[in-house]
Symmetry: C2
């Protein structure tokens, strides 16, 4: 695809992605995307025939960005415990957005998981990318036999904290729980798995 | 309101409540409610002018049912640890529904919390009823100074488990995490708050 077309396609995907997060997938209309992307409606059909196709493209885009980010973290942080702490930092870095809109991955999957299972199975990949990487970190930390279990547990902890922060609009809760999770990770790094 | 009207009103609320859970609030149309309640459209307007009003009635209905259930548990279970375990049992009792539709409270609040904050603040009451009761149990367990914190933490744990079970359609995860939560509660009951 020529460069200009690729940029336009990307602009549509990014505009749609932002709307899906802020309004929800089903609450976002094709017209909303047309307006936010500032691309004539006829032009959008050149790239995407349906809203579902835009969502699939948005999920692929996000999955790719997450993978790149995790690769960077692997390169920038020498030890698995440092990388796990960097993962936890998402909670504080995105605190305002989480309280305002909820977790982007969790809220999307929760919405789609009711009546749009085919779409939700694509959105599930957002979780799987993180879980696979977390699994690697826990294995490197010395918990190879339980790495997948610990990865899912950490994701679940994060998701629960996100839901509560969003429901109650409570930044203090997010901060305290993030600190507690950090302590749990440090204990694991010290070989203390009593609380696991 | 005469008995027959009250029954009809209740039928509308219960039908709508089920739809809101299975499809999502915004994905449920007024027509969906009309059909599911098997009440003529004109009759529904006698009770509710808008879908928002039906949602508010549904939330009040659920809040009342939750309060009654918690009162029963308080009466049926003599000790706070038994009551906390009874709360945990929701995870297993509702496992199929959670995997299919997500948590009814969490998914509703997540959806409304994006662009319908006024409605979400009403839905938040569903959480507050549970949290207040959990707070009482933790205080009675001997953690009066931290009771609210522990109540929110247990809710967060449950919410995270629900999201992950729904996203991955994974009953094993729900079972294992519920068991782990049960151990955490037992430790707290034994005065061991290291993992808290």
């Amino acid at each position: 695809m020529p460069k200009k077309s690729e940029r336009t396609r990307q602009r549509i995907v990014e505009a749609a992605n932002r709307l899906f997060y802020h309004k929800g997938y089903n609450q976002t209309s094709f017209s909303d995307v047309v307006m936010a992307a500032a691309v004539p409606r006829g032009n959008i059909y050149y790239y995407f025939r349906t809203k579902d196709e835009i969502l699939e493209a948005a999920i692929r885009y996000r999955t790719e960005r997450i993978s790149q980010m995790l690769e960077q973290w692997t390169g920038n942080y020498r030890t698995p415990i440092e990388r796990l702490h960097r993962f936890l930092d998402i909670l504080s870095d995105s605190a305002d957005a989480i309280m305002r809109y909820g977790c982007p991955m969790g809220s999307l999957n929760t919405e789609l998981g009711k009546e749009q299972r085919e779409l939700q199975e694509k959105a599930e990949n957002l979780f799987k990318v993180f879980e696979s990487w977390l699994c690697d970190q826990f294995a490197e930390l010395g918990y190879a036999g339980r790495a997948h279990e610990l990865a899912l547990r950490l994701m679940a902890q994060g998701q629960g904290i996100n839901v509560m922060a969003h429901v109650h609009n409570d930044p203090g809760f997010l901060r305290r729980e993030k600190a507690r999770l950090g302590q749990w990770l440090d204990q694991l790094a010290d070989g203390n798995d009593e609380c696991a």
